[in-house]
């Protein structure tokens, strides 16, 4: 029985609702309709009175989740698209993320954000916001790249006593399949997705798969590229990255969000500062281009990093 990334997200919510009566779901169109992507399909039927259609009020959705969490509930909030969290931004970064530090009150909320680009989705249904949220203290940012992580990390998120931004990639929803959920890996730890000795690519979410394809391509040329799946953007598992770079001496960081600042800059800053002498070549990074995300697939394919742009960057890095 093969399970998609999207089904894993549904199953994790099923399991969270089943195992803890304090869990509830709140989001636009998630009840009988099952959500814009069907990530909550049937859950309102299976758990009557625990899955709610929300008004189009992202600010209030997050605020209400914080209030509910204070009272001991563990809400899962679905943003219809990550892009719309921009109108719930204040409640995320200033209300949810500061609650524990200010008042010693844990804030166990999970905000599911369907993230990332797909062809034809345009500037406002394609965004990757992990770099924005990770800048703020007080939030955990998860970016699962596999069916297994989608399942286990979502379940873990709900159990965590802190706000979690769960960035699930829309491009992986239907494409990515697995035979089961495997084993849970700990949150906050990166994973060597493919071992190698010539260069390290650090990637996450959909970009992991582009990086893996790239590593595969380069293997034909005799290169062994190591691919690290970050899994969690904040905290970022610096130790695993440094260990990999210490073996390969070369680093390429790949992310889908905008190029200024963000995940890839943070990776490079950490490696350069903490493992400078392990680097045999200048570290490199690849991000989307510095414009809004284009609607037309012709443009979109060039806007984000792809297997071929990763391969090209790696060739430069390996030749250095």
């Amino acid at each position: 029985m093969s399970i998609t990334y999207l089904e894993a997200i549904r199953e994790a919510q099923y399991e969270a609702l089943r195992s803890d009566p304090n869990v509830f779901l709140y989001g636009q169109d998630i009840s009988t309709f099952g959500g814009a992507f069907k990530a909550t399909k049937n859950l309102s039927r299976e758990f009557p009175g625990r899955v709610f259609d929300s008004p189009i009020s992202e600010d209030a959705m997050i605020g209400m989740a914080v209030g509910a969490a204070i009272e001991g509930a563990r809400p899962i909030i679905e943003m219809q698209f990550a892009d719309f969290s921009s109108v719930g931004f204040n409640q995320i970064v200033n209300q949810a993320a500061t609650l524990y530090w200010r008042t010693n009150t844990p804030c166990p909320i999970t905000i599911r954000m369907p993230s990332g680009g797909t062809a034809g989705s345009g500037p406002f249904h394609s965004q990757s916001m992990e770099s924005i949220y990770a800048h703020y203290p007080g939030i955990v940012i998860l970016t699962p790249a596999t069916v297994e992580d989608a399942y286990w990390m979502l379940l873990e998120s709900v159990k965590l006593n802190d706000p979690v931004i769960f960035c699930e990639h829309k491009f992986l929803y239907y494409h990515l399949k697995s035979e089961g959920f495997g084993e849970a890996l700990p949150i906050g730890k990166a994973r060597i997705a493919r071992p190698g000795r010539d260069a390290t690519v650090v990637a996450y979410s959909a970009m992991l798969h582009e990086a893996l394809k790239s590593a595969e391509e380069l293997q034909m040329d005799g290169y062994q590229v190591e691919v690290v799946d970050l899994r969690s953007v904040k905290p970022m598992d610096t130790d695993t990255i440094l260990a990999s770079v210490s073996r390969t001496g070369r680093l390429l960081a790949v992310g889908e969000s905008f190029p200024w600042g963000g995940v890839t800059a943070e990776i490079i800053a950490r490696v350069s500062s903490e493992a400078f002498h392990m680097l045999d070549a200048p570290p490199m990074r690849l991000n989307s281009k510095d414009t809004p995300i284009p609607y037309h697939p012709n443009l979109w394919k060039t806007h984000r990093p792809t297997t071929s742009s990763i391969t090209a960057a790696l060739r430069t890095l390996l030749r250095y």
Binding site: Q28, D29, T32, F33, A36, F52, D53, S54, P55, I56, S57, D59, F81, D83, F84, S86, V87, A119, G120, S121, G122, P123, F124, H125, P259, W260, T264, A265, I268, M284, R285, L286, N287, K289, D290, T291, P292, P294, Y295, H296, P297, N298, L299, K301, T302, H303
Partner: protein, 357 residues
């Protein structure tokens, strides 16, 4: 000369009390027929877009149609002068755009993503606009266009170029729950701007029924709380819509501040063409709001003796030819070439950064 009564309940706002019924005058004939022509064209264009979507291949991204909302949308757009007034159309305003004067090619080119269209493949479908000509290009975030339209009017007043121009924008029942809508409307009211806001209450926001969206009886009940004038109209009744928007626009132009027109209707289709709307219960499909406004309007026009069935058929044929012609042109035009794209998000090109890293 025929007279007909249509039911327009114009709700009293802070200061002004409108008469609850408006009679249909002969001088509505011209507006009505112009609008009818637009909604026929709109429906035919949208049917084409829907079938192109289902056929696959040419349209990229989603298709979001205004089926059932044409009368309400066009009756508003009909009061706007292209290139003079300011329009901020939303998801289901194809008919309003036509009435306003947006060229059919703008729609077709944007759906097909060709570089000749106003969005040049950078953005798509309902997000199109030509802001410098007065047609705003909505972003997806619901509610956030209202303040933009208000700002354009504000600037005109400041610069002395307002004259008798007016602005108009739309929102759905769902969009009224956004903070952006509230802030924008309140600000427009404080600034007493000549702005008409159409609230298309089509009973659903995607799949969400209004019972999960608001708790008031009628969204027009909000007008008073903003200190603006409000109207409630049967959105399936083109005559009523034309009469109501005529009043609302006249009052906006005359300096009475924002006017909120709430139209009750039903979305006659899915949220987008990917959606079969199976969540809309049969009961809703049999209510008065489920009437097809185009059929209602055709009958009104024929009953009033303003047009014949044959004339309508001619319009339909003309519309089909117009749509086919637009499609024929746009489908031959080039899609964007990423290697010719400048990738400049700033107009000041000296400040654009190169690639780093």
């Amino acid at each position: 000369m025929m007279w007909m009564k249509c039911t327009i309940s114009i709700v009293p706002a802070t200061s002004t009390l409108h008469s609850p019924d408006v009679a249909v005058h002969a001088d509505m004939r011209e507006d009505f027929l112009k609008t009818l022509r637009c909604i026929i064209l709109s429906r035919i264009l949208e049917e084409k877009l829907g079938s192109l979507y289902r056929a696959g291949g040419r349209i990229v991204g989603g298709v979001y149609l205004g089926r059932g909302q044409e009368a309400f949308s066009a009756a508003a757009g009909n009061n706007l002068r292209y290139g003079k007034d300011i329009y901020g159309p939303l998801i289901r305003d194809q008919a309003g755009r036509i009435a306003y004067g947006e060229p059919l090619l703008d729609a077709m080119r944007t759906y097909l993503g060709v570089i000749t269209g106003p969005m040049r493949g950078r953005d798509g479908n309902i997000h199109r606009g030509r802001p410098r000509e007065g047609c705003m290009a909505m972003i997806s975030h619901l509610g956030s266009l209202l303040s933009v339209v208000a700002g354009a009017l504000f600037a005109r007043r400041l610069r002395g170029t307002l004259g008798d121009t007016v602005g108009a924008t739309s929102i759905g029942d769902g969009g009224t729950s956004t903070g952006a809508f509230h802030e924008g409307l309140n600000m427009a009211a404080v600034e007493k701007l000549p702005l008409v806001i159409s609230v298309a209450n089509n009973q659903f926001a995607y799949s969400t029924p209004t019972s999960r969206q608001y708790a008031c009886e009628d969204l027009v009940d909000r007008a008073r709380g903003y200190g603006i004038e409000g109207y409630s109209v049967d959105g399936t009744d083109l005559l009523a819509c034309v009469a109501t928007f005529r009043t609302a626009f006249a009052r906006a132009r005359a300096g009475h501040g924002p006017q909120m027109v709430v139209g009750k209707l039903l979305r006659l289709g899915g949220h987008g063409e990917h959606d079969d709307a199976s969540y809309i219960p049969d009961s809703a499909r049999h209510k008065h709001e489920a009437r097809d406004c185009i059929e209602v309007a055709k009958k009104q026009a024929i009953d009033l003796g303003w047009i014949t069935e044959a004339e309508i058929r001619t319009w339909e044929e003309e519309s089909r030819r117009e749509v086919d012609a637009a499609q024929a042109i746009a489908s031959k035009e080039p899609t964007p070439d990423p290697y010719r794209e400048t990738w400049h998000a700033l107009s000041t090109s000296e400040l654009v950064e190169g690639q780093h890293g």
